[in-house]
Symmetry: C2
Subunit: 180 residues, 2 copies
């Protein structure tokens, strides 16, 4: 059974990856990797490249963006910093002056073999930014996927994982690995 | 006369630096340096470190932040990307839901000798985010310094440079160099 390293300290993400990439042994490692500014594809690829170089093993990393349509995709990859600084209520307030409340939740998985070129897999779930409802970490309470009456935070983990941006990226990654 | 390299492609910035750091020969070089996410001090120090390593000469770089108080300092170092994507009007609209329209314009200069630890110098000008007035590049038309009735863009370059965030950082840098 081939081995992959998932660079994450998040147990829930690790469990989700294991449940999808069933043909692989997935180990997790916590690495403090520098994160660049810029295009989300380049950012995640560079993280994967650094991780594979550092560990000498095939590595994958993930990066989440929350992209407000009215803000042309911002805060995007900077969502974690925005969330830390202005919170969910602040994020909702950013859109007060804009009519368009739609957003994309994006998971970008970067994957790299040591000394090879990194590649990436993108999963997108579209939705609307709403006032916080539900009780889960992060921005889950303010993101309501299109076609659903619940926010991510009001769904069970199982419901959410069925339609989540991360799930979609993991499925693409799985298909890639199966073709190898 | 000692030599310093200013990593910039901006002629106006170069002229301003030369006008203040008169005891040095200042050359400019355009380098495409990766920019990290995170704390503005660390970001500019890393850029200076990379530049000095690459060129093998004492180098300085500058980085500008526009920090909205209501957004706990954001967009901060990401201001260029915000400006490119949502423009001046979009930046003003970000604050529609917030009463506090105050902001800090920050210039951070990073300086590094090859293979030494980088240091930095910060200049801050406080002001208010207003509807665009005046006709100059960037976010100058939406930033009105405290105590003035003009935006940066309505001032002449000479007026602006007297009170600008970059000027303040350059003066600190000059004082440091004089002590060496």
């Amino acid at each position: 059974m081939d081995s992959l390293v998932f660079v994450t300290g998040n147990e829930e993400k690790l469990a989700e990856a294991k449940s999808i990439l069933t043909d692989f042994r997935i180990d997790s490692v916590v690495l403090d990797l520098p994160e660049l500014q810029g295009d989300r594809e380049l950012v995640v690829k560079e993280k994967a490249r650094l991780a594979a170089k550092k560990l000498g093993m095939p590595c994958f990393v993930d990066d989440t963006s929350l992209c407000f349509s009215a803000l042309k995709g911002l805060p995007g990859i900077y969502i974690r910093e925005f969330l830390e600084k202005i919170g969910r209520d602040g994020l909702v307030k950013l859109l007060t002056g804009f009519d368009d409340k739609s957003a994309e939740a994006v998971c970008m998985i970067g994957f790299c073999y040591p000394n090879k070129e990194p590649i990436c897999f993108e999963g997108i779930t579209e939705g609307t930014i709403v006032n916080p409802r539900g009780d889960r970490f992060g921005w889950d309470p303010i993101f309501q996927p299109f076609g659903y009456k619940k926010t991510y935070a009001e769904m069970t983990i199982i419901e959410k994982n069925k339609i989540s941006h991360r799930k979609k990226a993991l499925i693409k990654f799985k298909k890639f690995l199966e073709k190898k």
